[in-house]
């Protein structure tokens, strides 16, 4: 019994290894890229559209909404990176339905790579939004004494992202493997369903945490300077308008039904 798909090696030459993690990762990338390309070949904007386009629209709109709800002001800028994070981890977990498949996120290498992507993306987005000086000044934010703690927290939350995802995925596959050897088949099936659920929850958690970290790096806060109240004032009517339009949409939907 192996700890991760890294143990299944298909081909080896010197220190170059083709293991199951790499193979499954590239398979997932292929499925996501080719699938999306096939669906978006003929996009239509009128009421008649294919169901796959509908599905993708639902997914993209939901991710956009989530990013906006966390507080990022232009969700489209971050949609590519954050949406890909969510979709990759979610699809990696869903495909456990396919027999013989093991989620590549069950290997610490994959999750560490994803966490390092977030670790690099947060300063990039922060500097793009606030400038290098503004972003670095945020490290001194409560007081200057907090500087080492802020740096340590950056590193530790990256590590936590990687280990959390790895632990959840690895425990799912391992429990399945252990149960298959000792219990009747119904229990592994129930555990497999639980594994699917935790996979989706962990994908959402990874995505939301990355969003929150980026929002913490880019968001301007009220007590900082007098230039801030304008973007804050702009941001506030938007959530209010959202809340007002939602009950209206609800009231409209109910008489229709």
């Amino acid at each position: 019994m192996h700890l991760s798909p890294d143990g299944i090696i298909f081909w080896q030459h010197g220190f170059l290894k083709l293991n199951a993690t790499i193979a499954f990762t590239w398979g997932l990338m292929f499925v996501l890229a080719v699938g999306s390309k096939l669906v978006t070949r003929r996009l239509s904007t009128d009421l008649q559209r294919s169901r796959w386009q509908n599905l993708l629209e639902i997914v993209v709109t939901a991710i956009n909404e989530q990013i906006a709800e966390v507080g990022l002001r232009q969700p489209e800028k971050y949609l590519g990176f954050l949406g890909t994070l969510f979709l990759f981890v979610a699809i990696a977990s869903i495909f456990t339905i396919v027999p013989g498949y093991e989620p590549p996120t069950g290997s610490l290498s994959t999750t560490a790579a994803l966490a390092i992507c977030v670790f690099v993306a947060v300063p990039l987005f922060g500097i793009e939004d606030r400038g290098l000086g503004g972003y670095l000044r945020a490290y001194l934010k409560p007081t200057v004494i907090m500087l080492p703690f802020n740096i340590i927290s950056e590193l530790s939350r990256t590590l936590a992202l990687a280990v959390r995802l790895f632990g959840n995925m690895m425990s799912g596959t391992m429990i399945l493997a252990i149960l298959l050897t000792i219990t009747p088949f119904i229990f592994p099936i129930a555990m497999s369903a639980l594994g699917l659920l935790t996979g989706m929850v962990q994908a959402y958690i990874f995505f939301i945490l990355a969003t929150v970290y980026i929002a913490a790096a880019t968001r301007t806060r009220k007590p900082e300077a007098k230039a801030e109240p304008k973007p804050e004032a702009k941001a506030e009517p938007k959530p209010e308008a959202k809340i007002e339009s939602k009950p209206e949409a609800k009231a409209e939907a109910e008489p229709k039904e």
């Binding site: 019994m1 700890l3 632990g167 690895m170 425990s171 939301i208």
Partner: protein, 93 residues
Amino acid sequence: MDSTTLIAIASIVTAGLTIALGSIGPALGEGRAVATALSSLAQQPDAATTITRTLFVGLAMIESIAIYCFVVSMILIFANPFWNHIIAHAAGK
């Protein structure tokens, strides 16, 4: 008792204790989190989506502590460096 036996005993006992003690704290914490979430849902049902989402995010953060303990326990059982070293040593003899 030679070192092989000693390493084996220590690894097994530590692995069991790690996961047993390590899941107590997160379980208590998650219980409190869900209880508070339920009471705030009862107080403000229209904030249900926000509360539920925040609850799940919080639960995942609390869960990760238990996951760390699980990972240590798994490493001790399946990828134990001390065991591998002592076995390689014994096989080399």
